[in-house]
């Protein structure tokens, strides 16, 4: 199976071509440039280098979020369009799982993306018999309650993410020696890992409806629902063909 994997959830962009379990080519770009300008050229370069045609790909795997809303939309739109237009498989993988899979640490692995206002996108994972297993579902949460929940654990907890240094003092104060940290280049998403996770995933049934996992409603919708608490049931279709 030939897999093209792509992740543009945060500042780093990573794309990889993997055949079965062999890495053919991988590119990671970690500069401040829009993913819109960089993603397709990176894919083109990869395919040229590996002598692959778009139609040769069997499965498109994408980091589906959470992360930067605009960022995840670019990879998700690109991946779903590839899969739809070439009639190939599409698999979405948690962007947090991709980063968690970078470490082989025992105990809990807690990937962390900064979501601003001292909130994070996070979840908890661990390795069991060579598989990465999700233990606490991905969520958008304030850091303090997350740390309280983790403090009751006895296992070591490895925090991983390029944003981890922002929270390191706070985490250490709550968890002490129980906490370990992985950041910097070791915490960048690697599309080869995404491809590997995606090879094990289930292809999505309805590619058209495939969308990012934002893990947050928009502020406008949150406010509107507060004013219209019963309106989420039985409303007219929000989008319709005209």
């Amino acid at each position: 199976m030939l897999v093209l994997a792509m992740d543009t959830s945060n500042q780093a962009l990573s794309v990889a071509l993997v055949r079965d379990e062999a890495l053919l080519a991988e590119t990671t770009i970690n500069i401040r440039k829009t993913h819109s300008e960089s993603l397709l050229p990176a894919i083109e370069n990869l395919m040229t280098a590996a002598n692959i045609e778009p139609a040769d790909v069997d499965r498109f795997v994408v980091a589906q979020g959470p992360g930067s809303y605009t960022g995840i939309r670019i990879a998700v739109t690109t991946a779903k369009t590839f899969a739809w237009t070439l009639q190939k498989e599409l698999v979405g993988i948690s962007s947090l799982a991709v980063v968690a899979s970078n470490t082989q640490a025992t105990g809990l692995i807690v990937p962390v993306f900064n979501a601003r206002r001292n909130a994070v996108f996070t979840g908890a994972y661990c390795w069991q018999q060579g598989q990465l297993v999700n233990v606490l579902p991905d969520r958008h949460q304030d850091l303090a309650p997350l740390l309280a929940e983790l403090a009751s654990q006895t296992a070591p907890v490895t925090f991983i993410g390029t944003d981890v240094p922002l929270f390191q003092d706070q985490i250490q104060a709550a968890l002490g020696d129980q906490a370990q940290f992985v950041s910097g280049w070791a915490a960048l998403p690697q599309a080869r890992q995404l491809a590997w996770l995606g090879e094990q995933g289930q292809p999505v049934a309805n590619q058209h409806r495939f969308a990012p996992q934002y893990l947050r409603q928009t502020e406008a919708e949150v406010n509107w629902l507060k004013q219209h608490p019963t309106a989420s049931k039985g409303h007219e279709p929000y989008v319709e063909e005209i």
Partner: protein
């Protein structure tokens, strides 16, 4: 027999996701439009993040329906076109990403299209265009008079200095408790009322082709609020008629002045506000009285709001002039035509 040129065109600059298949820039084989109005009217206007989220869920669906309805395969297509600006950046990026991917996956040329050029070329579905021509673009984001010396050559000769005309309609609509978008509702109310409030006609007598609608908007709001404070209720239909008359007066008179000053035989009135029945009637009357030899073209109502068909029509013209892009194409939310060299705003 020469192969027909078929362009698959994507549009996602605001709150409509649309994909069309256009033959030779003039024939619509399909034009699928998914509107978010039911969603955005909850907020009284377009919320950009909400718009972007809807586009992701619509874009391949619209593209598939466009291909199916047109009865074409990728092997039949000549090129892929996409709106890359102006518009909401997050919304534009969805169409741009999808169009780039389809073009790359099937080795097709990619044509970047200015959304405003699309509005003008919606007129091509009515009849062939004759240059030089003048176009008035009136929408929620723009009020521009554009001079086309030749096909695909655009120069802005008049522009709004503050609000766009469509924006003024929506803001006034909110004061009248009309749901978004308010343009059609104000147009309907106007037909039952009279121009009794004598709202200002901004910049009508200035020697340029520019517009201003923020003063009109303020005058309208002040009139309504002052009446409320006095406990009076003003006639909603007369308010609507008076507001619409002011907008139409200024737009029609200044556009007609430009139409007489430039060597044009055709006037295209395009953009969402071009669907306004009062504006259409006023232009037809003015042209008949002042420039009976000039041809005024209004695109059909369905092609006045945002749609992929108009992008495919513009792409046909721009491609012939050498426009092309590659995988690096990005959204350009502030994209604009050039201003005429003697333009002063």
């Amino acid at each position: 027999m020469a192969k027909r040129e078929l362009i698959l065109a994507f549009e996602s600059s605001c709150d409509e996701t649309s994909v069309a298949v256009i033959e030779d820039g003039a024939k619509i084989l399909s034009n699928i439009i998914a509107s978010q109005i039911n969603s955005q009217k909850r907020f009284g206007g377009v919320v950009p993040e909400v718009a972007s989220r809807h586009h992701v869920e619509q874009v391949t669906l619209c593209a598939e329906e466009a291909m199916t309805e047109a009865g074409v395969t990728y092997a039949d297509l000549s090129a892929v076109a996409v709106t890359y600006g102006p518009g909401l950046v997050g919304a534009l990026l969805i169409g741009v990403a999808a169009a780039k991917t389809v073009a790359f996956a099937h080795h097709l040329p990619l044509i970047p299209v200015n959304h405003m050029a699309g509005h003008i070329y919606a007129a091509r579905f009515v009849k062939p265009l004759v240059y030089p021509l003048l176009a008035l673009l009136v929408s929620g984001g723009h009020t521009e008079i554009v001079y086309l010396k030749a096909a695909g050559e655009f120069e802005i000769i008049g522009d709004t200095r503050d609000d766009a005309a469509g924006e003024a309609f929506d803001k006034v609509g909110r004061v009248l408790n009309l749901t978004y978008p308010a343009g059609k509702k104000i147009d309907d109310l106007s037909k039952q009322g009279q121009d009794t409030f004598n709202f200002p006609r901004a910049m009508l007598h200035e020697p340029n082709y520019d517009f201003s609608f923020s003063g009109l908007k303020s005058a309208f709001i002040n009139t309504v609020h002052n009446a409320e404070q006095r406990g009076e209720t003003l006639s909603k239909v007369d308010l609507a008629a008076s507001f619409q008359a002011s907008v139409i007066d200024v737009i029609v008179q200044k556009t007609m002045r430009a139409a007489k000053a430039y060597p044009v035989q055709q006037l295209v009135v395009a953009g969402g506000v071009a669907a306004n029945s009062g504006l259409r009637a006023a232009f037809q009357q003015a042209v008949a009285a002042e420039t009976p030899d000039m041809d005024v073209i209004f695109p059909p109502l369905r092609l006045c709001s945002d749609n992929g068909a108009m992008i495919g029509a513009a792409a046909h013209v721009l491609w012939a002039k050498g426009a092309h892009a590659d995988g690096r194409l990005n959204a350009d939310p502030g994209l604009s035509f050039d201003y005429a060299s003697d333009f002063q705003a």
